[in-house]
C-alpha cells in the first residue's frame, strides 16, 4: 500500500472546518456504474475482477460515483457535503497504479452559483494549504454557456446535440463543424420510405418501419422503436436542407476563442452576444451570479481564467467544469465540475444537483517534496 500523504491530517481538519463530512466507501466497487457513466474506454484503465457469481467488480478508480451511490443507498437528506481522502486505482503506463485523491462532493444544494463558487474556493483553499506560497491558476469552462450560444444562433436540435457532445474536444468539435458546413451525402432509401420521409409523415413512416422490423424478426420492445427511427430519418432530411451560415460559423469560432479572467468574463460574453446579435439569457445570468459568488470568496479573480472552449466530453457534466494548476507544474492538480445529471443516471428517484472536485494528492506531494 502506498504511504498516506503527510498532508492528510491537515486536509481532514480543513474538511471539518468547511463542514464537509468524511465518508468512507469500499475499495471494491461494482464496475458497471463506472463503465456506464464514463464509457467502455475506461475498461482498459481500471482493475477489473469478477465475483464468484460473475458480477463485474473493480477497484475504485475515483470517488465521485461511489460517494453518489452511497448517498443514494443511504437515502440521506440533502443538501449534504461529503469529503473523502483515500486511494484510487488505475492502470497507468507511467507512475504507480495506486495513488491518493481527496475531494468534496456537494449534493443537493439548490443555489448552484453559491455551490459552484464554494467548490472552487474549497479546492483553492486545499491547494493553498498544501502548497503555501505557490501561485495557482484556476481554469473554468461552462457547457451551459456553449449550449446557450448554439441555441441563440438558431441551430437545429440535431446539430446542437452533436456540437454539445463534442464540446471540450477541439478535434471532435472541428470534425463536427466540418460536417455541418459540408454534410455527407444522403444514402439511398427504399422508394416508399423515401416518399414518406419527403412528406414528413412520421406516423406512416413508423408503421412502415414497424412492418420491416416484424419481417426481420427484430423486436421493437428490445431496443430502438419504429417511431424513434422515423423521427430521426425526418430530422436528418430536414438537417440536410440547412447549411451552417457563414455568420453563425464565425460567431461560433469567435465564441470558442474567448479567454478572459473571471472578473471581466461576463462583460466579454455580453460583448460577444451583442456583436453576434444574440441573447444568452439565463445562461449568462447564471454565469455572472457564479462569477460574483467566486469573487465573494476573496479568491484572486485575475488568476481565474474563463476558457470558453474548456469542457469535458462526458454526458453527466452539465455546467461548470474547472481545473487548478500550480506554477511550475505541468500537470493539473485539481479537476472539478457540476454533474446535475449523474445522480439520476445512477438511480436516484428524484433529481439531485451535484458539484465537486478531486485533488491528485500524488502530484501535490511531488510538488511539496520538490519545494
Amino acid at each position: 500500500m502506498t504511504r498516506i500523504p503527510a498532508i492528510a491530517p491537515a486536509l481532514t481538519a480543513l474538511f471539518a472546518e468547511r463542514s464537509a463530512h468524511m465518508v468512507d466507501v469500499p475499495v471494491i466497487q461494482p464496475a458497471d456504474p463506472f463503465l456506464d457513466m464514463a464509457g467502455e474506454d475506461l475498461r482498459r484503465r481500471i482493475f477489473l475482477t469478477e465475483s464468484e457469481t460473475g458480477a463485474a467488480l473493480c477497484l475504485r478508480p475515483e470517488f465521485t460515483i461511489p460517494v453518489c451511490l452511497d448517498h443514494i443507498a443511504s437515502q440521506a437528506g440533502t443538501p449534504r457535503r461529503y469529503a473523502y481522502l483515500g486511494e484510487v486505482f488505475r492502470q497507468r503506463r507511467e507512475g504507480g497504479n495506486e495513488f491518493f485523491q481527496a475531494g468534496i462532493e456537494d449534493l443537493g444544494e439548490t443555489d448552484a452559483a453559491m455551490a459552484d463558487a464554494r467548490s472552487i474556493a474549497d479546492a483553492h483553499a486545499l491547494l493553498s494549504l498544501a502548497l503555501p506560497g505557490r501561485g495557482l491558476t484556476v481554469t473554468l469552462g461552462d457547457q451551459s454557456v456553449f449550449e446557450a450560444v448554439l441555441a441563440a444562433l438558431g441551430l437545429p436540435r440535431g446539430w446542437r446535440m452533436r456540437l454539445a457532445r463534442a464540446f471540450g474536444s477541439a478535434e471532435q468539435l472541428e470534425a463536427a463543424l466540418a460536417d455541418l458546413a459540408n454534410p455527407p451525402k444522403a444514402s439511398a432509401l427504399p422508394g416508399r420510405v423515401a416518399e414518406l420521409v419527403a412528406d414528413g409523415d412520421r406516423a406512416a413512416l413508423a408503421a412502415q418501419i414497424a412492418e420491416g422490423m416484424a419481417e426481420t424478426g427484430l423486436s421493437p420492445a428490445l431496443g430502438r422503436t419504429p417511431d424513434e427511427i422515423a423521427r430521426r430519418l425526418i430530422e436528418k432530411a430536414e438537417l440536410r436542407s440547412v447549411r451552417l451560415s457563414a455568420e453563425a460559423f464565425s460567431a461560433l469560432k469567435a465564441f470558442l476563442a474567448i479567454r478572459a479572467s473571471l472578473d471581466t468574463a461576463a462583460d466579454v460574453l455580453e460583448g460577444f452576444a451583442a456583436s453576434a446579435g444574440v441573447s444568452l439569457g439565463a445562461a449568462l445570468e447564471r454565469f455572472s451570479a457564479r462569477a460574483q459568488a467566486v469573487a465573494g470568496h476573496g479568491l484572486p479573480v485575475g488568476a481565474i481564467i474563463y476558457d470558453a472552449a474548456f469542457g469535458r466530453p462526458l454526458d453527466y457534466y452539465t455546467g461548470l467544469v474547472f481545473e487548478i494548476s500550480a506554477e511550475g507544474a505541468a500537470r493539473t492538480l485539481v479537476g472539478g465540475g457540476r454533474y446535475d445529471r449523474l445522480l439520476t443516471l445512477l438511480g436516484a428517484t428524484a433529481p439531485i444537483p451535484g458539484v465537486g472536485f478531486s485533488v491528485w494528492l500524488d502530484r501535490v506531494e511531488a510538488l511539496r517534496g520538490g519545494a
Partner: protein, 233 residues
C-alpha cells in the same frame, strides 16, 4: 540454435499456411499422427514447427514464446496491447481475408455512418434506460474504433462467444462488431455494414516476434521471412 514457427492447427488456414511454406522451400513434415502438435521442416534441424490455434499464436508471439507464426492480423491487433511494440507483420499472405466491421440492423434506416451511430448512442440511455450495447469478441478493436477514432464514449460491450450476428434479434445487443468475408451471414441476419464501418481489412500474415535473439537466430528468421515473402509475391 533454432527458431520456432507457429502454424494454425486446424482447417483451411492450416492447409494454406503449409502450402505457402512448401512453396517457400520450407516443407513442413507433418506428424504422422495429426493429433501431435510438433513438427519439423524437411531437412532442417534448426527450425521447429508448433501447431497452435490462431489466437494462441497471436498471444505466444506477443510473449515471445515463438519466433514467428501465421495468424490473422485481426487476432494480433485484438489480442496484444501495443501490438506493434511486441511483434511485426513480416508478410501478408493473401489468404484468410476477412473484414472486422460495424453492422447495424438493416431497418435502422437512419443510420449509415459512425456519426449517425454517435447520435443514436448519445440519446440511447435517455430513451431506453441503458446504454447502446455492442456484441463482439473484439473488445480492443471496438474500443479503439469507437472511443479513440470516432470519439463515441457511451456504449457498452457485451461479450459474445460465437453467433455474434444473432445478438440483435435475440435482444442481447443492439449492434455488432464482427468478422465477415462475403457479408452473406450479415445479410441473412438482416444486418448492414456502416458506410465507414470497416474497422480492419484483415488477412493471414506471417508475424514475427520482436523479442531479442542471438545473431544466428535473427539471420535464420530473416531467411524464413525472405523466403515466405518471395513465395507470396
Amino acid at each position: 540454435m533454432s527458431i520456432t514457427i507457429a502454424l494454425p492447427s486446424k482447417g483451411r488456414l492450416r492447409e494454406q499456411a503449409l502450402e505457402v511454406f512448401a512453396k517457400a522451400g520450407l516443407p513442413v513434415e507433418e506428424p504422422a499422427d495429426q493429433r501431435r502438435y510438433r513438427a519439423r521442416v524437411g531437412g532442417r534441424d534448426d527450425i521447429e514447427v508448433a501447431f497452435l490455434s490462431a489466437s494462441e499464436i497471436a498471444s505466444e508471439l506477443g510473449q515471445g514464446n515463438v519466433d514467428c507464426g501465421v495468424t490473422g492480423e485481426d487476432l494480433v491487433r485484438e489480442t496484444l496491447a501495443e501490438w506493434d511494440a511486441k511483434v511485426e507483420i513480416a508478410a501478408r499472405l493473401g489468404f484468410g481475408e476477412a473484414d472486422v466491421v460495424v453492422a447495424v440492423p438493416d431497418i435502422w434506416l437512419d443510420v449509415s455512418t459512425m456519426a449517425d451511430l454517435d447520435d443514436v448512442a448519445a440519446e440511447f440511455r435517455q430513451r431506453h434506460g441503458r446504454r447502446l450495447r455492442i456484441a463482439t469478441k473484439y473488445w480492443r478493436l471496438t474500443q479503439q474504433f469507437f472511443s479513440q477514432m470516432h470519439g463515441i464514449q457511451v456504449y457498452r460491450i457485451v461479450e459474445s462467444l460465437g453467433a455474434t450476428e444473432g445478438a440483435p434479434a435475440a435482444g442481447s445487443a443492439d449492434i455488432i462488431v464482427d468478422i465477415t468475408t462475403t457479408g452473406s451471414t450479415l445479410r441473412a441476419n438482416h444486418l448492414r455494414i456502416l458506410d465507414d464501418g470497416v474497422i480492419l481489412k484483415s488477412q493471414a500474415c506471417l508475424v514475427a516476434s520482436r523479442r531479442e535473439r542471438a545473431a544466428a537466430d535473427a539471420a535464420l528468421l530473416a531467411d524464413v521471412r525472405a523466403r515466405v515473402r518471395a513465395a507470396v509475391a
